[in-house]
Amino acid sequence: MTHIAVERVAGRKLPQVRLTPGLMQPRLISRAAGGRAHVAIVAGGAALLGGDAVTIGIRVGHGCRLIIEDVGGTVAYPTNAAESRWDVDIEVGAAGSLIWETYPFVVASGARVRRSTRVRVGAEATVHLRETIVLGRSGEVGGALRSSTDVRDCAGRPYFVEDLDVDGTDPLPGVLGSASVLDTAMLFGRRDEAAGPTAGDDVGGGTTVRILELARPGTIARAIGAAAHESHVDSVWQRWTRPTE
């Protein structure tokens, strides 16, 4: 299991960063005063094959700020064997912040994948996540993906709970229809102040980025379309993660 933990240590200027490699390998890029750390994640081998189980645990201590950057995207390859798994467990302590910059997660035709993302958001903490799902490599319709997201505060009150069940061989109207790309940026713990409740940002290519203000402080930005280069939420993601960090 891959583990990344950042904590402040009394009497020391820099935060303590503990990295445990698994199928994914974390690498420390930098640390700074104020509990700041920057970590990259690289694949330890050819991921993601049938039966592979990637597990990533992330702990951001009280008042710490962690930026994680994936070094490349992930392809889930076709399998005749067991489904592959990608399980992420995140806890961000009080007043902490996490930004996780990811690349597309491609579900090749014939692949079967289960993803789960569990997040616990501390008081006054903010969490920024990106999930770009692409059904199929070039010319493919794509495989089957079940992706569950469960985001709650420390008391268990929910921000966002979603189980997405998609299969490139069985497109459902109203779910993804004929689209093969679902790009999602997620912000929890504060709202995207720049956006109105139902504002759509036109990013060109006929794609509209839909801004969904959650019932509790948090915002989901989504683009749904045919190709990752034209259906993306880059502009929203940059607005959320660049200015004040």
């Binding site: 966002f160 979603e162 109207p173 779910v175 959650l214 509790r216 989901i220 749904i224």
Partner: protein, 247 residues
């Protein structure tokens, strides 16, 4: 809360109430929604896909709504069956019941990221609440006036009226598909009987899910099956200056 039935109806009360709740003539304001089909037709959904759209809703939003209604019904029903024996958990205060409804509402809202969908569900909930508190006055102190989505109101009625959980699940499913069918007839010229056939097909396809959904009791276990395009369409529809339906 006591289990209240409309005494004059006798033993058939629950069946009569199910029919009443499934009837578009019930003055609860449900005619304002197309369940996304108006927006869908503007965004590339074609008439030939509407039957599949109804089935897709059965696998996504209907599971969320039905699960929410069943969990609400369970929370407001005092007498539970444990291992075949009826166990009386004692009555809960109205304030405790309200707090439980608020928690269930939070779980539902977390599964409904589109503000437009939350807004229409609360508008429909307010319409149905007026029916509920008139026919079952004991529900009045339990249900806050604002902010209750329709499935929470429906589950509250089911608790008060003694509607079995499985029938409540079927009611949510039938109502969902029939709403799409009725809206289609206003939006696109088509054979009304064909649309009726789609409703029955969708309900039949959903039937294997009914028993599991009917056993739900934990708000955190309410299904969360997402439908990103339905949410996207709902947001687009809410911003339209000219439209036939609110949602």
């Amino acid at each position: 809360m006591d289990t209240v039935t409309l005494n004059a109806l006798g033993p058939g009360a629950a069946s009569a109430i199910i029919m009443l709740l499934a009837d578009a003539r019930l003055p609860a304001g449900a005619h304002v929604t197309s369940n996304g089909v108006e927006a869908g037709l503007r965004h590339g959904l074609v008439t030939g896909e509407v039957a599949a759209y109804m089935r897709a809703r059965m696998r996504t939003v209907v599971r969320v709504e039905a699960g929410t209604a069943v969990v609400t019904r369970h929370a407001l029903t005092d007498t539970r069956v444990v291992d075949g024996d009826e166990v009386d958990r004692g009555s809960r205060s109205d304030r405790e019941s309200s707090a439980i409804l608020a928690d269930i509402g939070d779980e539902w809202a977390a599964r409904t990221p589109s503000p437009a969908l939350r807004e229409i569900a609360e508008a429909l909930g307010a319409g149905l609440r007026r029916v509920a508190v008139t026919l079952w006055p004991k529900l009045n102190p339990v249900m806050p006036r604002r902010g209750l989505p329709r499935p929470v109101v429906l589950g509250s009625i089911a608790a008060a009226a003694g509607i079995p959980a499985a029938d409540l699940v079927r009611l949510v499913a039938y109502d969902d598909a029939q709403t799409v069918a009725a809206a289609m007839l206003k939006l696109e010229p088509m054979d009304p009987l064909a649309a009726t056939g789609w409703v029955l097909e969708a309900c039949t396809a959903f039937e294997p899910c009914v028993a599991d959904l009917a056993t739900l009791t934990d708000p955190a276990a309410i299904p969360a099956a997402g439908a990103p395009l339905i949410e996207d369409w709902a947001e687009a529809q809410s911003a339209l200056p000219r439209r036939l339906f609110r949602a």
